[in-house]
């Protein structure tokens, strides 16, 4: 499928890289020639230099017969306009990045309908949602939620004294009477989809599929359940900070430290409940003064990755119970993980995941397409949600009769409001939503998991 990406900044380039590696025919449009030549050197994509709202440029990029047009420039208005033009020129689906809260709060539905947008993406809002999930459940490093939050993929790191270390999955399942499934393990640079004989070790990062209630039950048994964060200190008054503070408006107290006076004034009027501090958050003195030692969670959201990493190292020394960092650049995220900063949120990755899922669903013209997709464990594995329809080869089969490809596991089944953590005797019915965890496979359809 031909995909055009207009605007190849940080987020655009990362979307381009993941879509190109998915095997799509990607065309990059950017007004900066240096960006285009860099991208065409590194990825197997075509580049067109020009303005994303210029018809000639769009025609040269082949908009008329493109399957998906994605506008990712800095400006919301430009994105909307170029998506509108692309749609009129014949692009089948258009997706615009729209991140200004003014557009998102009220007029988004109207805009989407009249600009005929297939989707509006707001990376900042996505990041805020992910942060919210983590802060609600601080025991986890990261949480990926599947439809209606009946099932989640929760990532943990096993400490030296963890009860799981040194046990096989079979033993763990016997010992703890809770409905959960360890569906993915990262050890060093390798990612495994484990079976019952797999033995866990301290230092492993594991992904568990389970429902939130069952998970809490399990953590209570393990004595490692942590209370949800109430008092939150945010560094940097970005859009993400605004969305996050808004989510905690009723259930917690939020302090935002922002350097720019004008932005502080804006935030005070937008967030009357939050405390807004105008000052340089990189000063340790200020952080301590504003209660770094007493807060439940510290979130570093400045625009500079390096700053976020350094300050969160400081926060770790101050015994803050939970620190979450926004890091956009993959290289830095990998470095941060090496020095023990595990809870990382990346707006770039969130956006890429959404687009990869969307493109895969488009590729799959019939059948049970991907509903949700997360790249987990540094992109080495995927957790996908499928809706099983009546035509699927899986419908009506018992799990023990289904022969899966290697490196694939069924992590959970959602039927109506109930969640099933599957065992061999469970079966899949039409209408179920199935969560599949997989590495080294590219799944477009639920039937792709079969041998």
């Amino acid at each position: 499928m031909r995909i055009i990406i207009a605007g190849c900044g940080k987020i655009g380039a990362s979307v381009l890289s993941s879509l190109a590696s998915e095997g799509h025919d990607v065309v990059a449009v950017d007004k900066n020639n240096a960006v285009i030549s860099e991208l065409t050197n590194v990825y197997d994509v075509m580049g067109v230099c020009g303005n994303a709202t210029d018809c000639d440029t769009l025609e040269e990029a082949g908009t008329a017969d493109c399957g998906l047009f994605v506008a990712m420039t800095d400006s919301d208005e430009l994105n909307m306009l170029s998506c509108f033009i692309a749609k009129k020129m014949g692009a089948e689906h258009t997706i615009a990045r729209i991140r200004n809260p003014e557009y998102n709060d009220s007029s988004l539905g109207f805009l989407r309908q009249h600009l005929e947008l297939s989707m509006a993406i707001n990376p900042e809002l996505g990041a805020a949602r992910e942060l919210y999930n983590i802060l609600k459940f601080p025991s986890a490093l990261k949480i990926e939620t599947f439809s209606r939050r009946n099932l989640e993929m929760i990532e943990f790191r096993l400490d030296e004294d963890s009860d799981f270390a040194g046990k096989t999955l079979f033993e763990i399942r016997k010992k703890y009477n809770a409905k959960f499934l360890i569906s993915c393990v990262q050890r060093g640079d390798d990612v495994y989809i484990p079976n019952g004989d797999f033995e866990l070790k301290a230092g492993d990062k594991i992904g568990i599929t389970s429902s939130m209630n069952e998970m809490q039950k399990l953590l209570k048994m393990l004595n490692s359940l942590r209370k949800q964060a109430k008092k939150i200190l945010i560094l940097g008054g970005s859009k993400t900070a605004y969305y996050l503070a808004k989510m905690f408006e009723s259930s917690g107290s939020v302090t935002i430290i922002e350097q720019d006076e004008k932005r502080c004034a804006e935030l005070t009027s937008l967030l009357p409940a939050a405390t807004i501090i105008c000052g340089n958050g990189t000063q340790q003195e200020l952080l301590t003064e504003e209660g770094l030692n007493t807060c439940d969670a510290f979130v570093a959201l400045t625009g500079i990755d390096e700053e976020n990493i350094l300050i969160s190292i400081f926060a770790a020394t101050q015994n803050v119970p939970k620190t979450v960092v926004k890091i956009n650049r993959d290289e830095l995220a990998a470095l941060a993980k090496k020095i023990g900063i595990d809870s990382i949120v990346s707006p770039k990755e969130i956006t890429s995941n959404i687009l990869v899922q969307y493109a895969r669903a488009l590729d799959n013209s019939s059948g049970s397409a991907v509903e949700t997709l997360y790249k987990i464990f540094d992109g080495k594995a995927e957790a996908l949600e499928f809706l099983v329809n009546a035509d699927s080869k899986l419908a009506g089969k018992m799990l023990k009769d289904i022969r899966l490809k290697p490196n694939i596991l069924i992590g959970g089944i959602m039927r109506g409001r109930s969640t099933i953590i599957p065992a061999g005797s469970d079966s899949i019915l039409a209408g179920d939503r199935v969560v599949v965890v997989s590495s080294k496979n590219r799944l477009n359809d639920i039937n792709d998991i079969l041998k």
Binding site: D25, V26, T40, D44, M46
Partner: protein, 481 residues
């Protein structure tokens, strides 16, 4: 330097060459010629070498940069020619390896300069292989590798850029592999249509194929000592038309395929190209009309010779060495300019010439209005300053290298005209020059040393200078950058 990737790709290329050699092998079987076993041995050597090289150099990482792209291209072409020369030597029809190497490089680089004095006594299988090298070399062996073999790297654009001629190599479609396929499909369609039209003119399939390969790659190897002179006017006109087609930018044919006719008509390079053709044909016709009985014949010879030189093919319908000085000078200049970028032709390329002309004009304007700001526009778009300056640098290398080769072969006992035009004709992949290397002569009288030098000159010209320079510079080969 990712050396393993370099050798691995060369290995892939060798396997492909083994496959390509099946065409002359099969035809020599059909002609019942003894050179078939020479092809069989070469196929064995090429395939074995390819498999061994690929097995020994399984790459750890497939990431390559422009450095590797250049070196892969240069090295592949050297190996390709070295192996491609073997059938001539093994069959004993060209006993000297240096001669065979010269002939093969001349084939792959689509030069068409020959050391053979008696074409009529060669076996037809070898003649077919000789012309087939033109066809393969015209669009590029590595582009063919990309089109038919699963490419191991995402970054094969670096290889494509190094192999395809022209100042800026763009893709037609997002994927390199798809682009390579489309180019070869266009190339095959055009070649087959020429074969059909030549068959309609009364040629045998063998003759039609040889001449179509020669025109498609803008090479110029024929099967007769007088080249095309003894064929009918119809055949000469067909070949003239196809030389015009093959020396134009192939992107235009892609635009025809996707029905964007408006963009074709607005192509500046195309109009300049056609303008030069019309002007040159008219000027030459006026200059030589006294030599030929009818206007029709005058125009036919003028058009054929202008196109053969401008497309850097090197066929001939008449000995233009006997023409008046003005026509010869004009042809000499056309040799240097060559065809369009993105075609199979050699030379400086029209788009570069246009850019040089425009930047010259801009410099003059700057002298009068030192504060003026202006950009150079080509194809309706302003060209990056870095591209303009790189074209200037390319021209400097282009001129300096030809002067250097001229100096190196200057001790040969030929006249000035012969030596200058041999270097220019080889470097620009034309083939025949003037004087003793004119359409009626050939390169047999040069010493082995000069033949090797001229072979290198041909590679320089076909690969547009830089790959060979990088191949020869040790710093590029260092394991650590």
């Amino acid at each position: 330097m990712n050396r393993k990737m370099v050798f691995y790709t060369c290995g892939q290329m060798l396997l492909l060459e083994a496959v390509l050699l099946f065409l002359p092998l099969i035809s020599s079987f059909m002609f019942g010629e003894s050179c078939a076993w020479a092809f069989m041995i070469t196929i064995g050597i090429s395939a074995a070498l390819g498999v061994v090289v690929m097995a020994l150099s399984k790459p750890d990482t497939t990431v390559i940069y422009s450095r590797e792209g250049f070196v892969i291209t240069a090295l592949s072409w050297l190996i390709l020619s070295a192996v491609g020369a073997l059938p001539f030597v093994i069959s004993g029809e060209i006993p000297s390896y240096v001669d065979a190497f010269f002939e093969t490089v001349s084939g792959f680089t689509t030069t068409g300069a020959s050391i053979l004095t008696d074409l009529e006594s060669m076996s037809r299988g070898l003649l077919l292989w000789r012309s087939f090298t033109h066809w393969v070399g015209g669009m590029g062996i590595l582009v063919l590798v990309m089109a038919v073999l699963p490419m191991t790297t995402d970054r094969s654009i670096h290889i494509m850029r190094a192999e395809m001629p022209g100042p800026v190599v763009g893709k037609l479609v997002p994927r390199v592999r798809q682009t390579a396929k489309i180019l070869y499909i266009i190339y095959i369609i055009l070649t087959v249509s020429e074969i059909i039209m030549l068959l309609a003119g009364g040629m045998s399939l063998f003759e039609a194929a040889v001449h179509a390969f020669g025109t498609a790659g803008t090479g110029g190897f024929g099967i007769k000592s007088d080249s095309i002179a003894s064929y009918s006017p119809y055949i000469q006109w067909v070949m003239t038309a196809f030389m015009i087609i093959f020396a134009a930018n192939f992107n235009l044919y892609y635009l025809i395929l996707i029905k964007r006719f408006k963009s074709i008509l607005s192509s500046e390079e195309l109009w300049v190209y056609l303008g030069i053709i019309v002007f040159s044909v008219t000027a030459v016709s006026l200059n030589i009309h006294a030599l030929y009985p009818t206007v029709g014949e005058t125009v036919r010879h003028a058009a054929f010779q202008v196109m053969t030189v401008m497309s850097t093919s090197g066929f001939a319908t008449t000995d233009f060495n006997l023409w008046p000085q003005f026509s010869k000078s004009l042809l000499f200049i056309l040799m240097l300019i060559g065809g369009c970028a993105g075609s199979t032709a050699g030379g400086l390329k029209i788009s570069r010439a246009v850019m040089l002309f425009k930047s010259g004009r801009r410099e003059l304007k700057k002298m009068l209005h030192p504060r003026s700001v202006s950009s150079i526009r080509l194809e309706g778009k302003s060209v990056e300053d870095s591209t303009v300056s790189s074209v200037g640098v390319y021209f400097a290398f282009f001129a300096a290298l030809q002067l250097m080769f001229f100096l190196l072969i200057s001790f040969e006992p030929f006249d000035f005209e012969t030596k200058v035009t041999s270097v220019v004709a080889c470097f620009n992949n034309v083939g025949p020059g003037l004087g003793a290397v004119g359409p009626a002569g050939n390169y047999a009288a040069y010493t082995d040393f000069s033949k090797i030098l001229l072979s290198i000159a041909m590679l320089f010209g076909r690969l547009e200078i830089y790959p060979i320079i990088f191949l020869l510079s040790p710093s590029v080969w260092k394991k650590k950058v």
